[in-house]
């Protein structure tokens, strides 16, 4: 439970030109959609290269890479083993060990899927690691997205590191009371319970206090809100967002039309 890698952090302003958060989101989303719709290995590889390059330029590569590795390595390994060794539809057999057959079709399918999923994942991760969460929340509120969604998003991203450090404190406290994690499933379950119960109990208690404070400040109200954070949204970027969304929709329509025809 001590997972910490890959939490998108506040971003330093290393990019020469800072885009509106929704423009970045539209760019990442449409890139992922177009790559999936195109299902083309060269395009997927180009997107992977582009995403890594953009992240390097933006100064987020060092934080992005561990997160990407944590997500993509198990997925890619799973796909390569699954399709590389067991692909009953494959005809060209490259090697065989008992029921496992390495086929050219299987390897090619696995490689295409790995590239396609990696491109979509990296495009979205570049957005997550470059966006400023307060700006995104403010931009969503301006566009009429409920404050509650923005609260859940911002609160989760800020709670993650807080809860991992709290869990560490609980573990230390339980160890001070004599908790020793021994081998064996039952011991581990008991140790898990000794840490999880105080953690969840404290979190529920905290949430109740926070809820009362927020309610007293009109959190449940449905009227218009005033935001003190101004996120510039140039006209060019508004048009760019429309173009990106249209491009993604066109790619989906083209793929569905080709599949139907």
């Amino acid at each position: 439970m001590c997972w910490r890698a890959g939490i998108p952090d506040r971003t330093p302003d290393l990019l020469p030109m800072r885009l509106h958060p929704l423009t970045s989101l539209a760019a990442a989303g449409s890139t992922a959609v177009i790559t999936t719709a195109a299902a083309s290995l060269p395009l997927s590889l180009a997107v992977i290269g582009g995403a890594l390059g953009l992240s390097a330029v933006g100064g987020t590569l060092r934080r992005l890479l561990p997160a990407a590795v944590a997500v993509l390595v198990p997925l890619c390994l799973s796909l390569l083993v699954l399709h590389g060794l067991f692909f009953p539809e494959g005809q060209i057999i490259l090697a065989q060990w008992g029921p496992a057959r390495v086929t050219a079709e299987g390897l090619s399918f696995a490689l295409e899927r790995v590239a396609q999923v990696s491109a979509a994942v990296l495009a979205l991760l570049v957005f997550s690691f470059s966006v400023s969460v307060p700006d995104l929340v403010a931009a969503l509120s301006v566009k009429g997205v409920q404050g509650r969604f923005a609260f859940v998003l911002a609160s989760t991203l800020t709670l993650l590191p807080a809860i991992t450090s709290r869990l560490e404190r609980i573990r230390q406290a339980q160890e001070a009371r004599g908790l020793v994690i021994r081998r064996g499933l039952l011991h581990r379950i008991a140790a898990f319970r000794l840490q999880a119960v105080p953690l969840v109990s404290a979190l529920v208690e905290d949430a109740a206090v926070r809820g009362a404070a927020l309610e007293a400040r009109g959190f449940g109200g449905t009227g218009p809100r005033t935001s003190y954070r101004d996120v510039p949204d140039p006209v060019v970027e508004r048009w760019l967002r429309i173009l990106l969304v249209l491009a993604a929709a066109a790619a989906v329509a083209a793929r569905l039309w080709l599949a139907g025809g």
């Binding site: 944590a70 899927r113 979205l124 208690e205």
Partner: protein
């Protein structure tokens, strides 16, 4: 805290009707997408670029999940909304940790089921869908599973409402049944969007079925039927342990727990 505000106007019936409509549309989008994928079983999953099916699975399930969030989130009391980020963090931290181990389980729904037991099926569904969307910020592969996560939250709430958390031994049974439904719904996503599973251990199980000549969708569905029921039985049991370990004051603040007598021996403080 879960009582309506005394100073703010109550929501109009028209807004409630609109939310109900969105809920129904969301459920229809999810059900329609699933039925389309299973009935058509696009043969191109392994034969060519199966991205048309991937796009249908992605868009149908995502639209459904977003509609559910839009419908449910505004209607939730503040005490539940503030608990959702906590549930999301529990899902993400545990799910990411277990997903990286060689165990063929996920354990990524403990927070969702916890909310469902404390605040009901609608809150559970919204938490499940939100969990996938927020988690996708740093693990985009979970995004397509938003509808499945919403379904698990909803079913957990229904189980709690019908008293399956009042007897400790019934919780894993409810989890097992929820896992069967959740697994069957999630399998087409794994098959069409990823062409496999995202974990090494679950991938090994799919490989075993593929080596017996199963189609990809059949192999992934069978794997889901092995992993998901066990996984959800564990999750429901863990949540039962957690909710009974919580102080009465904490659980009784939720109207759903008081109103539907969700937990055994905890209703002496009933004030509704």
């Amino acid at each position: 805290m879960s009582s309506p505000s005394l100073t703010l106007p109550s929501p109009a019936p028209a807004a409630a009707r609109k939310r109900r409509l969105l809920e129904i549309l969301g459920a229809l989008a999810i059900a329609g997408t699933y039925i389309y994928l299973v009935l058509n079983q696009p043969a191109d999953i392994t034969g060519g670029p199966g991205s048309a099916s991937a796009l249908i699975a992605l868009s149908g399930f995502l639209v459904g999940a977003v509609l559910l969030i839009v419908a449910v989130l505004p209607a939730l009391p503040t005490s539940t909304v503030v608990l959702i980020p906590v549930a999301l963090v529990l899902n993400i931290v545990l799910g990411q940790f277990v997903g990286s181990t060689l165990v063929p389980f996920y354990l990524d729904a403990i927070g969702t089921v916890l909310i469902a037991v404390l605040a009901g099926p609608a809150a559970g569904a919204a938490t499940g869908a939100l969990s996938s969307i927020v988690w996708s910020f740093f693990n985009p592969t979970v995004l397509p599973f938003a509808a499945g996560a919403a379904l698990i939250g909803c079913l957990a709430g229904v189980a709690a409402r019908h008293g399956l958390f009042r007897r400790f031994y019934l919780a894993p049974v409810a989890g097992f049944a929820t896992g069967i439904i959740g697994g069957v719904v999630s399998a087409p996503v794994a098959a069409f969007v990823f062409g496999g599973t995202s974990g090494v251990a679950t991938g090994a199980i799919v490989s075993a079925f593929r080596s017996m000549g199963d189609t990809l969708l059949a192999a992934i569905t069978k794997q889901a039927l092995i992993s998901d029921p066990m996984d959800k039985a564990i999750v429901f049991t863990v949540v039962a342990v957690l909710v009974y370990a919580l102080p009465r004051r904490a659980t009784l603040q939720f109207l759903f727990v008081r109103w539907h007598r969700v937990l055994a021996g905890r209703n002496s403080g009933q004030d509704s």
